[in-house]
């Protein structure tokens, strides 16, 4: 599991790299030393990012209980994992929290972004600045503040307080990502839609939403990953029966983390990769397909 504070910066790096235009076809003799250096540099960066993950996956198949050395291949840890009620319950809790927080934070965050981009209202500046607070404020402060707040309103800690807490700090991330997408939005497309007789709802559903969808999906994926590996805030606001996976793993540290944890991390990684693959398929250039459709009309 990644360290909680590393999330926001690391998550975008591979995506940003992926978006760079492909290098021009190599010509004989044009491979200068700078280019080679850049290549090595990129390789090292990727190794730095992915080798720990590969080792984690590898060690989920290690026969030895200790991470000290390689003892031979086994699938035992996966078997043990599926027999370990505590870890399974923690995974279930983490998924409930991450999925609920993602759904609600995405909806609310998108609405916030739209309001900020489209409307002018009193307190807009303040709202805008407040949006960055959950990202800037140290997680431990958010956690402490939330638990105090729940204490004051006498809300018993449970899994749902974790969901509420996650929604609270995830909204900002979605709103900021979606706002970035809205920044390049050509409003004449919406005007054209209403000129052609589409009502506000139709315009939103068939014009606005498809255009900002990649931003929404990016925001949703971002907060899903932030939520699923959040430890600090969750550990503050979790109540009875609300042990999430990161809390479970940290609490296992006292007796030593077993490769079961590697196994469960590998499975979660797989799930995340599948989700990202789906999201990227969905994102494949929706704008050109829209203009194609418009041209057909």
């Amino acid at each position: 599991m990644r360290a909680p504070e590393a999330t926001s910066t690391v998550d975008f790096a591979p995506r940003a790299i992926a978006r760079l235009p492909p290098a021009s076809p190599r010509q004989r003799g044009s491979v200068t030393w700078e280019r080679r250096l850049l290549g090595w540099h990129s390789l090292l960066c990727y190794l730095f990012l992915y080798v720990p993950i590969l080792i984690l996956i590898l060690y989920s198949f290690n026969r030895s209980k200790q991470t000290a050395g390689w003892d031979g291949f086994t699938l035992d840890w996966y078997g043990r994992l599926f027999a370990n009620d505590l870890i399974l319950r923690a995974v279930k809790n983490s998924l409930i929290v991450a999925v609920s927080a993602t759904i609600f934070a995405t909806i609310i965050g998108t609405m916030v972004a739209l309001a900020l981009a489209r409307r002018s209202f009193r307190g807009k500046g303040a709202t805008q600045s407040a949006l960055y607070l959950p990202i800037i404020i140290p997680e431990i402060v958010i956690g402490a503040a939330l638990v105090t707040f729940f204490g004051v309103i006498e809300l018993r800690l449970s899994l749902w307080t974790v969901v509420l807490a996650h929604i609270a700090f995830c909204i900002s991330y979605v709103a900021i990502v979606v706002r970035a997408r809205l920044a390049g939005f050509d409003r004449s497309l919406e005007e054209a839609a209403s000129d052609l007789g589409a009502g506000p709802l139709d315009t939103f559903r068939r014009v606005t939403l498809p255009i900002i969808l990649p931003g929404i999906i990016a925001g949703a994926l971002l907060v899903f990953t932030i939520s699923i590996d959040d430890y600090v805030v969750s550990s503050f606001v979790a109540g009875v029966g609300a042990t999430t996976l990161p809390i479970q793993i940290y609490s296992m540290l006292k007796v030593g983390v077993t490769p079961e944890v590697n196994a469960v991390s590998t499975l979660l990684l797989l799930l995340t990769v599948v989700l990202i693959a789906i999201a990227q398929r969905l994102q494949q250039d929706p704008t050109p397909s829209l203009s194609k459709g418009a041209r057909k009309k």
Partner: protein, 362 residues
Amino acid sequence: MTTARFRTRALTALALPLALALTACGKKAEAPQAEDAAATKNAGKLNIYIWSAYLPKEVIDKFAAQTGIQVNFDTYDSNEALLEKLQSGVADYDLVVPSDYMVKILIAEKLIQPLDHGKLPNIANLDPRFLDKKFDPRNQYSLPYFWGTTGLGYNKQKLGTVDSWEAAFDPKNKGRILMLDDMREVFGAALKSMGKSLNETDPAVLKQAADKLKKQKRLVATYNSGDFANILAAGDVDVAHGYNGQIAEVVANAPDKLAYVVPKEGATLWMDNVCIPVKARNAENAYRFLNYIMEGPVNAEIVNGVSYASANVPARQLIRPEILNDISIYPPDEIIARCEFLEDIGDATTLLDQYWTEIKAQ
């Protein structure tokens, strides 16, 4: 129309997992509420907050089957996490297991309630050596659950038999020594090696201990409180200062190579204790459970399941011999007699802090 179809398909593809997730969490949403409703109806619940790998599931299941009480349990990773949870005032835990020094804090903060010994006849089963400690005189608020020691794990293939703290101060082991990253424990090791008390407050003696530790610094590969057992198991160090539980774990995997010893000069004793929070909603169930786990056979099952030492006397007859005779779990009596609990040393803490900073910054 192609665009429309693409869009519908895309939205369906997106919506499907979300919808599944929603139904999944909708189902889950009912469960806790149902539990809450049940709790107010028959109070048949017990929420335990405890260290990881401290309570075998079989024991909980048997208790639940016997009493009809529904037991939930969550785990924490530090005493401070427990403190924070109880301070929130909205955590519904009925039974918690803080370590010795945290018991003292929880009492001072009025977060745990006095125990009615009349409801706990099985207290008679407890070993008096582990009762009436300074952190909770007369066990008004807490009862011992597990105890253990802080000693040395070592590589016996390389060092032979180790029985003294001197192994951690021996220049021959230069660069192959790991010490806990914990001020009181490290000073405890130095003080014990000098034949002094862990809770020494004499500035002259503390100065000597600090000098000894400053000299030791050159020999120490790392100060580490989290991963010490794995570092020892990996062969990166030959001597590791650490808690018996984690070291026993790696020793069990490599019994020919590694060993754990409570040095003959004595060491730190630690103890985790069961307490009932002030805000417990099911205190009666907590009492029932407390008394239950102090029954000899039940307590033996707990010890056999998780390999920590308990303070229960009748349980000893039923504890597996390989656990009872393992001196890393149950050290011999004459060694226990030389071990001590860490106590509040008052103003001397400031002095230790200063020395510790000097040592670490050296």
